[in-house]
């Protein structure tokens, strides 16, 4: 009897142990980055010595990183803004399904999600050079916009589907024109989806490496490119401090996505 009890206890703990191992594997790299960012030991990897914020202070004094950070922010805002500007009207038209191509456009957007970013980067670089367009922040924003637009569309479409269509009709019956209806009835209702799409696009653009490697120049390096270039010469906890900043940013956005707009992102 006792042996069976022990076995069943072991049997009940094994799933938990497995789950803990899997989550350690998933979150392990992030934990290592966080520990390193707050560890006073000057190289990396190392055992935890003592808590410090000096790497963040050092980071703030490095002009190359602050400039790259600002570039990343502006590219992210630009791409997320442009993608929203183009993607939200498209989503409204997709959800209405009033013309024959609507379904096809939706399918195309889902297909564009699977185009390998590397192939897209190669393609855009070759096209820009074929047309003799100089690479700049603008071309970088355009490239990021293409990458993030499917996420904006997905978020907007999913919240448009929960919208009450009769409110729109009621507004029009009461004499509102199409534009007023759009701005005062439709857009306020899908605010959650719009902000979720914007936030997600911003983060996806901010962390993107592949497109930026191909399309940024020395003057327009984004933060990840700058960090990877730095990491090729040496490993410093300062780099981990940047990682900690990004983790913090991602945490805010993911809590926001979970709480405010319940959007399923990747499935």
């Amino acid at each position: 009897m006792k042996i069976i009890k022990v076995f069943s206890l072991v049997g009940r703990t094994i799933p938990y142990a497995f789950l803990i191992l899997v989550y350690a594997f998933i979150l392990g790299p992030l934990v290592v980055v966080l520990i390193t960012a707050f560890n006073s030991y000057p190289t990396y990897p190392a055992a935890f010595e003592s808590f410090t914020l000096k790497w963040f202070q050092e980071l703030a004094t490095r002009v190359e990183f602050t400039r790259a950070f600002l570039t990343s922010i502006s590219v992210g805002v630009g791409a997320a803004g442009l993608a929203s500007l183009l993607g939200i009207p498209l989503s409204i038209s997709i959800v209405r399904r009033e013309f024959k191509g609507a379904g096809a456009i939706n399918t195309l957007f889902n297909v564009s999600l699977i185009i390998p970013t590397l192939a897209l980067s190669v393609a855009l670089l070759q096209m820009f050079s074929l047309l003799k367009i100089r690479l700049s922040v603008i071309t970088l924003i355009l490239a990021h916009t293409i990458m993030v637009m499917p996420f904006v569309v997905r978020a907007a479409v999913s919240s448009l589907q929960f919208m009450d269509p009769f409110l729109e009709e009621a507004a029009m019956t009461l004499g509102a024109n199409r534009l007023t209806t759009l701005f005062r009835i439709v857009l306020p209702q899908i605010r959650g989806g719009i902000t979720a799409g914007f936030a997600l696009s911003f983060v996806l653009s901010f962390i993107n490496v592949t497109l930026s490697i191909f399309l940024s120049t020395a003057g327009t390096s984004t933060l990840p490119i700058r960090v990877f270039a730095y990491m090729e010469t040496r490993m410093s906890p300062m780099v981990a401090a940047i990682g900690a900043v990004i983790i913090f940013m991602a945490l805010i956005v993911s809590i926001f996505l979970e709480r405010v707009a319940k959007v399923r992102l990747f499935v």
């Binding site: 799933p15 497995f18 789950l19 594997f25 998933i26 392990g28 790299p29 992030l30 934990v31 290592v32 980055v33 390193t36 990897p45 190392a46 183009l86 009207p89 498209l90 209405r96 009033e98 013309f99 609507a102 456009i105 195309l108 297909v111 564009s112 185009i115 390998p116 970013t117 590397l118 192939a119 897209l120 190669v122 393609a123 670089l125 070759q126 096209m127 074929l130 916009t145 293409i146 637009m149 019956t173 199409r178 983060v203 993107n208 490496v209 592949t210 191909f214 990840p224 960090v227 990877f228 990491m231 490993m235 940047i242 990682g243 990004i246 983790i247 991602a250 956005v253 993911s254 990747f266």
Partner: protein, 324 residues
């Protein structure tokens, strides 16, 4: 219908009726103008995608058919031909790269599928207690991006890092061959990085199916005297197969197109398809071959998507069958 009945009863003035009549009366006009409005709303985004997504892909296709700048390839008349493709597929070096990509992707797929399947089985058992939060936590590293995860792996995969210590521990056991403690720069490191990235998507796809399978089926089988193994073998496994199919396809596609992980965790002297494309672009400046390899990558992804849409149809059939 039932909902509207009382309101029209409460509304004997006939306003409701009038409103309905009005909308049906000008329906033809309304429909047409709305139709136009919908098209106008779609035009900017579609135009943008044609210019910055479809046109570039056509440029890549064009470059891949152009004569390569390599002299031993250029034997034709300078027009468009498939010479890059035949060169790319005939050279043993590039064949090796394709096979390495396929092998590493297959390993990553098997690895993430095994881990992911067991994880989603466990999560299914705990869904009542834990809710969907554990599944959401999984997507967090994706939002942090490749830069943070690779930074972390670089710290873990050296001989002084966590994984280095674990390997040293394994090496100290009898019967095990000596594994080098420096994981960074090996194919194993690339596969681990790929599994880490793919696992989220694999679990999402599996959970999508697993959480739909009704618990009553299991309970019924148990009541009828089936063992846990039989329940798994005869109920859970066959019903989760569409999810397994979808998850393995997405994992394979993600591995084939992963670029950042292999270029920072792998060995530059042993490139895979994606890292070779970037070599073509920036080291050998052979844009024709870069395009050729990119088209190969695109075709592989396209095949996977077609297979995946077939799997997706089976997932939705399952959902319809269980009434979700």
């Amino acid at each position: 219908m039932n909902m509207e009945m009382p309101s029209s009863e409460r509304n004997p003035t006939g306003i409701e009726k009038g409103r309905i009549q009005k909308t049906t009366a000008d329906n033809g006009y309304r429909w047409r103008s709305k139709h136009l409005g919908s098209i106008l709303l779609a035009i900017p985004a579609v135009f943008f995608n044609v210019v910055f997504l479809i046109a570039p892909l056509i440029v890549v296709l064009y470059y891949s058919l152009q004569q390569s700048s390599l002299e031993f390839v250029a034997q034709g008349n300078g027009g468009l031909s498939f010479s890059n493709y035949s060169y790319f597929f005939s050279q043993p070096y590039y064949q090796g790269i394709i096979f390495r990509s396929l092998r590493l992707s297959a390993l990553a797929t098997v690895g993430s599928l095994v881990i992911g399947y067991v994880t989603s089985l466990v999560l299914r058992g705990m869904a009542e207690k834990l809710g969907s939060t554990p599944v959401l936590i999984l997507s967090f590293p994706i939002l942090c991006g490749p830069i943070v995860t690779i930074m972390g792996w670089m710290g873990m995969m050296t001989s002084k890092g966590v994984l280095g210590h674990i390997i040293a521990l394994v090496n100290s056991l009898p019967l095990f061959p000596d594994i080098p403690t420096l994981l960074l720069g090996t194919d194993a490191a690339v596969v681990i990085g790929m599994i880490h990235f793919n696992l989220t998507f694999v679990i999402f796809n599996l959970v999508n199916v697993m959480f739909v399978i009704p618990r009553e089926l299991e309970e019924a089988a148990m009541v009828l005297g089936a063992s846990r193994w039989q329940v798994f073998r005869c109920i859970l496994w066959p019903l989760s197969l569409p999810g397994v199919f979808a998850a393995s396809l997405i994992s394979f596609a993600l591995s084939m197109s992963s670029f950042v992980t292999p270029s920072y965790l792998g060995n530059a002297a042993r490139p895979i398809l994606t890292t070779q494309i970037s070599k073509f672009m920036f080291s050998t400046y052979n844009w024709q071959l870069a395009s050729t390899a990119s088209v190969v990558l695109l075709v592989i992804s396209l095949i996977i998507v077609i297979l995946q849409s077939m799997a997706f149809r089976r997932v939705s059939t399952l959902k319809r069958w269980v009434g979700e």
